[in-house]
């Protein structure tokens, strides 16, 4: 892999290239790094500049975000909402994707077109009627208001990625299963699902991150810590007099670390999901 690189570039070019790489890394990770540094500074140092680095590093902020406010409850809300959304979106999305990829359906192109056009909907256009509907169903300030909305808005993504995966499974496998007496549904969960496992992982990660990060609907449909999710909790972070920058920094780190772990563990899958269809045309 590296032979081309070594033969074609002179030493100074290699140094220049690595310098650019380091700058790219600093640009991408710098803000998060700064948030980490801030989170370690005691309050008196947070509002002093310089020094850049903490003189008297402390974990106080990480303790104080869990004391006295419902941060733990908010994390739990996000975890439940994001997990259930992911599960539902995978179930409903994979069923639809299987049907669209392998079964006979009239107006298939029309259905796919409809699903894709939904992904372009501006959320603000549906937020007022959805608010009225959710209020009249008595679902305001519950997990289900968010789970229902997120599942639907993530369906286009799930269906799109999974349809591409199911299409790659050869028709012969499906036919062989049918000869062996499997119903379409048995074929779906016994044969197709395991074969499309990589696609399922990709979809699950993207849907989870979407639900973990969503703000507009969460802000509108929740009103108390009973159902408030992380983005709303961070946006409305309570402060007595001044904005508690140290606490916000610590809270940001706590809620971002799961995502960073996901990114490092699954970067290949994530990239596959983001580029699905976009490059092939």
């Amino acid at each position: 892999m590296n032979s081309r690189f070594k033969t074609q570039y002179s030493k100074s070019k290699v140094v220049g290239l690595y310098l650019l790489l380091v700058m790219t890394i600093l640009y991408c990770a710098g803000p998060l790094l700064w948030q980490f540094i801030t989170s370690l500074k005691p309050d008196t140092e947070v509002i002093r500049m310089p020094p850049l680095l903490p003189q008297d590093a402390t974990l106080d902020h990480y303790v104080s975000i869990f004391e006295g406010h419902p941060f733990l409850r908010i994390i739990l809300n996000s975890a439940v909402v994001a997990s259930l959304t992911t599960l539902l979106s995978l179930i409903i999305g994979s069923l639809a994707a299987f049907g669209l990829a392998k079964l006979d359906i009239k107006y298939k192109a029309l259905i796919l077109g409809f699903v894709l056009s939904v992904s372009m909907f501006p959320p603000i256009a549906t937020v007022s009627p959805l608010y009225i509907i959710i209020r009249s169903l008595g679902l305001r300030d519950t997990w289900w208001a968010l789970i229902l909305t997120y599942t639907t808005f993530s369906l286009p993504l799930s269906i799109w990625i999974l349809t591409n995966f199911f299409r790659e499974v050869p028709d012969e496998i499906y036919r062989a299963a049918k000869v062996d007496g499997c119903s379409p549904f048995q074929t779906f969960y016994k044969i197709m699902l395991p074969l499309a496992a990589p696609g399922i992982v990709t979809t699950a990660i993207l849907v989870f991150i979407f639900s973990w990060n969503e703000f507009l609907f969460a802000l509108t449909f929740t009103s108390t810590p009973a159902s408030r999710t992380i983005p709303v909790g961070i946006a409305l972070f309570p402060g007595l007099h001044e904005i508690p920058w140290g606490d916000i920094a610590a809270a940001s780190l706590v809620v971002t670390i799961p995502l960073i772990i996901l990114v490092f563990a699954f970067q290949r899958r994530i990239i596959e999901g983001l580029t699905a269809g976009a490059v092939k045309g």
Binding site: M1, N2, R4, F5, L17, T24, C28, P31, L32, W34, Q35, T38, V46, I47, M49, I92, L95, A96, L100, L103, D104, I105, F114, V115, V118, M120, F121, P122, I124, A125, T126, V127, S128, P129, Y131, I132, I133, T152, F153, I159, R175, P184, I209, W212, F215, L216, P231, I234, A235, I248, S252, T256, L262, Q267, R268, I271, L274, T275, A278, V279
Partner: protein, 283 residues
């Protein structure tokens, strides 16, 4: 050859959910937009297209539209340029490729609200790291000139990874032989970029532009958390304006009319790009 079977049973749950949670509300929002409806006073009166007529005379709407267009055009162009640069840089063969890709995904993975808080802190006039590093005292979020540009810098940081990832995938599809042949012919870096990379990357660039323009045009969280639309509405975009009308002043009729207008703008942008894309495929 397709396999026979009744596929509808598999698609129906998704279609029901999509219809109930996206199509039905869309019809409903149009219906709401024909009423003068104030949620707190339980007032609801049919006014026809009056709300839409009022939009044309509403200076705040035109201001929000102008802000949205400025935000969209500036941030999408900057993201494309920066993303192209990083994609070409990372496309060179070197070690730690997987690790580099994970690192550039960091801004993408961070919740928008968290990144807005992060940048708000970095933009802080007195204790912000940005002013410290620049040795200046700029009131980034308080000045009408800087606030929108500050929001754009943040958005560029947050969304360049997505652009980079897509463009990298596009670059990988271009056969290396073409580059080798061009180099043998003595073509310089810029000639290669202009004559080979750019034309072959065009379809991917169009897809990137489609996704990013739609996202930037409906921007909400990033700016809402960073500046709340201020100072003096200089960063108020269409989504933020509509949201404030709906949920702060509780004018559901007028807010819904604004929502419909946003929907129509987004629809026109999509149709424009999809036309461009299908034209490209036919050629």
């Amino acid at each position: 050859m397709k396999v026979r079977g009744d596929g509808y049973r598999f698609v129906i749950p998704a279609l029901i959910l999509l219809s109930l949670v996206t199509v039905y509300p869309l019809v409903y929002v149009f219906y709401l937009s024909l009423y003068r409806r104030l949620l707190i006073f339980d007032i609801s009166r049919f006014v026809g297209f009056e709300n839409y007529l009022f939009i044309f005379r509403d200076d705040r709407f035109w201001n929000a539209l102008k802000n949205t267009i400025y935000f969209t055009v500036t941030s999408v162009s900057l993201e494309l340029l920066l993303g192209l640069f990083i994609a070409i840089l990372l496309n060179r063969t070197f070690r730690f490729k997987g690790m580099m890709r994970a690192i550039i995904l960091i801004p993408w993975a961070i919740p928008t609200v968290v990144s807005a808080k992060m940048w708000e802190w970095m933009y802080n006039t007195d204790f912000g790291v940005l002013n410290y590093l620049l040795g200046m005292k700029i009131n980034w979020l308080g000045s009408p000139f800087w606030a929108m540009n500050a929001a754009i810098f943040m958005d560029v940081w947050k969304t360049t990874p997505f652009v980079t990832i897509l463009l990298m995938a596009g670059l990988q599809v271009i056969p290396q032989e073409i580059y080798r042949a061009a180099r043998v012919d003595g073509a310089g870096i810029f000639a290669i970029f202009r004559k080979i990379t750019l034309p072959l990357l065009k379809p991917v660039i169009l897809v990137v532009l489609l996704f990013r323009t739609l996202d930037a045009f409906r921007v909400f969280d990033a700016i809402y958390v960073l500046t709340g639309g201020g100072p003096a509405n200089t960063t108020e975009t269409l989504s933020i304006y509509a949201y404030k009308v709906l949920f702060q002043t509780l004018q559901f009729g007028y807010g819904s009319a604004l929502s419909v207008v946003i929907f129509l703008c987004i629809g026109s942008i999509s149709i424009f790009y999809i036309r461009l894309l299908s034209k490209g495929i036919k050629q």
